[in-house]
């Protein structure tokens, strides 16, 4: 079966979840990836949405983090202050998913503005749950299409901290989680170098050349010696992924 690059991203992200992982999930590709994991190799993955739904098991892909189906299928629904204080901040989340508009080489993320804060070229939605997800989850996975506009030398605004200025930064800032373990893009997967904590090309997706990934990165991208090619999505993965639909899509499909 052929697949789109977005499907490849969802599959690559889903594969990084283990059965039983407790995941803090946002809408879009993260939610798709977490639900794909739940539908395939990680049926006991616990999904937490920042709307306060713990252990949501949606049949349809939610369109927003506050869909009624999340509450209906959750083990528990708690208030937003509680979800951030007792669950996220307390270090109970294994994997946090984040998107962003920009990342730098240390996985610091911008989801606030492009351009100057006071006179922005583009005003983005803002941090939402991201700053503390990046700070407190045991690990964070970032999903983001790769281009020189998104993989930048210097962020316009630092909304969430990946590895700050490099080794020692997270410790100095008192951040409790390990930080970003992978950035999954439409071209491949980047992982922090164990020494420098700089995002390094660890995998390319099938059909993608290294030079393509390097060209799509605004800093001189380091490439791992043991660079791998991502395994192509399996038929089972693609089937499960394509079966994930929002209630509206399901309705339109009849």
């Amino acid at each position: 079966m052929s697949h789109t690059s977005e499907e490849m991203m969802a599959v690559a992200a889903a594969r990084r979840l283990h059965d039983g992982d407790v995941c803090f999930v946002g809408i879009g590709l993260p939610s798709k990836a977490a639900n794909l994991a739940r539908a395939t190799h990680a049926p006991r993955c616990v999904l937490i949405y920042e709307s306060g739904t713990i252990g949501a098991k949606p049949l349809n892909l939610p369109l927003s983090i506050g869909d009624g189906e999340l509450a209906e299928t959750a083990d528990a629904v708690v208030g937003v202050p509680e979800i951030f204080a007792y669950w996220l901040q307390a270090g109970r989340i294994d994997v946090g998913f984040l998107g962003a508009a920009q990342t730098d080489r240390h996985g610091n993320l911008n989801s606030t503005v492009i351009g100057d804060y006071d006179h922005p070229r583009v005003r983005l939605p803002g941090g939402g749950g991201a700053p503390e997800i990046a700070a407190s989850c045991k690990q964070t996975l970032v999903i983001l299409k790769q281009s020189p506009r998104t993989f930048v030398e210097r962020l316009d605004f630092r909304t969430s901290v990946g590895f700050g200025d490099g080794p020692g930064s997270r410790e100095r800032l008192g951040l409790r989680g390990r930080g970003i373990t992978a950035v999954i893009t439409d071209l491949g997967e980047l992982e922090p170098d164990p020494e420098t904590l700089e995002l390094t090309l660890a995998r390319v997706h099938p059909g993608v050349g290294v030079e393509q990934a390097v060209a799509a990165t605004g800093w001189p991208l380091a490439v791992r010696d043991d660079l791998e090619e991502s395994a192509r999505p399996t038929g089972r993965e693609l089937k499960a992924l394509r079966a994930l639909r929002t209630a509206d899509e399901r309705e339109r499909a009849g």
Binding site: S51, A71, V80, P81, R123, E132, R158, L173
Partner: protein
């Protein structure tokens, strides 16, 4: 004891020009009808507070009600940008909009502090980000361990407005499903207005329900359908199509103005 009022009376009595107003709702139970009444009553210079300003705040901002926005995520969920918010920020139209920008965790802690009448809330947050320059955060030291933590100034709105499933005739309010920060927003506010789908004789207990006792509220108003296009668990579904259509309507000043005139200003209350 909450007075049972009409929505028109409630907004007229509780919301004044220049007030700090929180219309809360986390995807679910967003008080659209109350927001429209604020637009109809042409309030100006409001400081609007909300974790997730979405379509109703886009409308309030585009209609010129707001001077300032305190928020943590401003977008059209699942669709994209809020074009009226962006235009106010990027071009100062129809009014310049000052921003106080938080994270969700920070705002939740600030509301909880307000509800508990503490002057600040404490969290592990904001460290290493560029947000502190645009929000109300200071650093404090734990008096036992010496750890450095973020302190956020408590949110204490003049008026807290939320929507709920129902109230009884004493003004006791019951809401269930995703409850967001509504309880904190109401308890942190000096005055409060709750709009409800219906007013009933007795509140049947419901699993997961949050109760706001009538004596802790200022006013309750019936506003059936008052959360549309958001949803009310047990009453009606989210009108996802509207959120998609809003993207086109709100991109254009004229289309926006037309929509507000037709659906808000000239709409039957």
């Amino acid at each position: 004891m909450a007075r049972i009022v009409t929505l028109e009376e409630g907004i007229a009595e509780l919301v004044s020009d220049g007030d700090t107003v929180a219309l809360e709702g986390f995807t679910h139970l967003i008080p659209h009808a109350a927001g429209h009444e604020i637009i109809r009553q042409r309030r100006r210079g409001l400081t609007l507070i909300r974790l997730t300003p979405d379509v109703i705040y886009d409308q309030l901002i585009g209609a010129g009600c707001a001077a300032r926005l305190v928020f943590s995520w401003g977008g059209n969920p699942g669709v994209g940008s809020l074009h009226r918010l962006r235009e106010a920020v990027e071009h100062g139209w129809p009014e310049p909009l000052e921003l106080e920008e938080h994270s969700h965790a920070g705002m939740a802690a600030a509301y909880a502090a307000g509800a508990a009448d503490l002057p600040f809330g404490v969290l592990r947050g904001y460290a290493g980000t560029d947000l502190p320059a645009h929000t109300m955060v200071r650093w404090i030291e734990c008096p036992f361990t010496g750890e450095r933590l973020a302190a956020v100034r408590a949110l204490r709105p003049d008026v807290g407005i939320v929507h709920a499933q129902r109230a009884d005739r004493e003004g006791n309010v019951q809401l269930w499903g995703i409850s967001g920060v509504q309880k904190e927003a109401v308890l942190a506010s000096a005055r409060s207005l709750v709009t409800v789908e219906e007013i009933v004789d007795e509140l049947e207990p419901v699993p997961g329900a949050v109760i706001l006792p009538g004596w802790a509220l200022t006013a309750v108003a019936a506003a059936p359908g008052g959360a549309h296009p958001s949803y009310v668990h047990g009453y009606y579904e989210r009108d996802n199509g509207f959120y998609v259509r809003w993207d086109a309507i709100s991109r254009d000043r004229e289309a926006f103005g037309e929509w507000i005139r037709e659906h808000v200003l000239e709409a039957a209350r």
